[in-house]
Symmetry: C2
Subunit: 252 residues, 2 copies
Amino acid sequence: MYSESGKYLVEVCFSPLSWPLYDREDAVVVVTDIFRASTAMVAAFHNGVKSIIPVSEISESEEYKRKGYIVAGERDGKKLDCADFGNSPFNFLEPNLKGQTICMNTTNGTQALKAVAHGNNEVVIGAFINISAVARYVMAQKKPVVIFCAGWKNRFSMEDTLFAGALVEKLLAEGRGEYFTNCDPAIASADLWLLAKGNPMEYIEKAAHRHRLRRMGLDDIIEFSLTEDFTSVVPVLRGTKLVDATLEGIAG
Amino acid sequence: MYSESGKYLVEVCFSPLSWPLYDREDAVVVVTDIFRASTAMVAAFHNGVKSIIPVSEISESEEYKRKGYIVAGERDGKKLDCADFGNSPFNFLEPNLKGQTICMNTTNGTQALKAVAHGNNEVVIGAFINISAVARYVMAQKKPVVIFCAGWKNRFSMEDTLFAGALVEKLLAEGRGEYFTNCDPAIASADLWLLAKGNPMEYIEKAAHRHRLRRMGLDDIIEFSLTEDFTSVVPVLRGTKLVDATLEGIAG
């Protein structure tokens, strides 16, 4: 709860560097990396992928490749040599992935997942493309909430912050009065979302990462990544794997 | 410069934890801790204080006290036992301080100063009460700019971020086209300032630190701390001391 009034606290962690300040043992931690890991993971489960094994070391990806797994992964936007494909969400929408387990290596998102997976934390993958389903799942957990922005190389990133703000807004507006925040990053995120929500594509045009993606020729995924509620799957961490919580019969 | 187009980059560092990502050797670093260290330091120079020796260890404050210095300092808003007074800006406006050197110990601000003081960095103390003078001084330096928010115990703080946003806005608007930013925290700060500037007192009512100050009975300084251009002094770091740059004859 972390509250005098019996409500659940909602916090936003702007980057992995700040995580020690928000670290909990019994919270719902929503990990997001809008461009592109979390959007790709959500797209994969929408496409019927059975599970995703997130890894952070290239040697781990190589090991999974040797074992015969499908391997996705990149560093700084470039496909790993050992990978079958990179981390564009569109790669995860290919029909042949249905029912498969994928080993996924990413610059930011996977490392964030590893940081938060301990204690009784419930770890959820959030993206604009599943934001309403994530909000419903979070509200069913009856726990404090930390929204963990994976950022870009430990930096604050605008797109992850906008997602955080949109989710804060949903929890405060639709959470039956069960949520509150006194966290400046949560307040700031919600206010930035207020400015952006009328036209997120136009707003994100200002952001640094959007320009990095364009330089790398990867900006085809921006509009998709900013589309709310493309799907209702909810990836959750179970042990070392991500699975779709809606297939466990426990989501709201 | 850090730019293809010959302009000076403006960045915002949201908390001391993120400083390694923004660390420069040849920038103007504007350190701010609106509630309350930077506002107090600026108030002191407005009142004719000769210099301020910033320290971060309590043992240092005790040592300066033994040497006969006037000592100001607090931890978590409470006056240190060895201190003559705490860090409320109003304490630094007392007439008997004119011409004196003060040793000042603070929870956040002093430690931020120590982190940034190296290389050829020009270290400046910024607050709303001297923001236009700081902007003029910064623009006279012809260097990239990092606005370093001291925050609260390594956390992002709304009031420091609003100051950062206000200064970003000034540099971009009044900097004769010599400044640019591609830094998401700088963009976010400026947008939050856009929301707040019509009524900063009302906006800051939402912020976490404002409520901490109220609980500690310290919220009398909020309105003063949010007042733009009360003074035109510009504290700068020279060796281990802060002095008023406008008395050095080098400010614009």
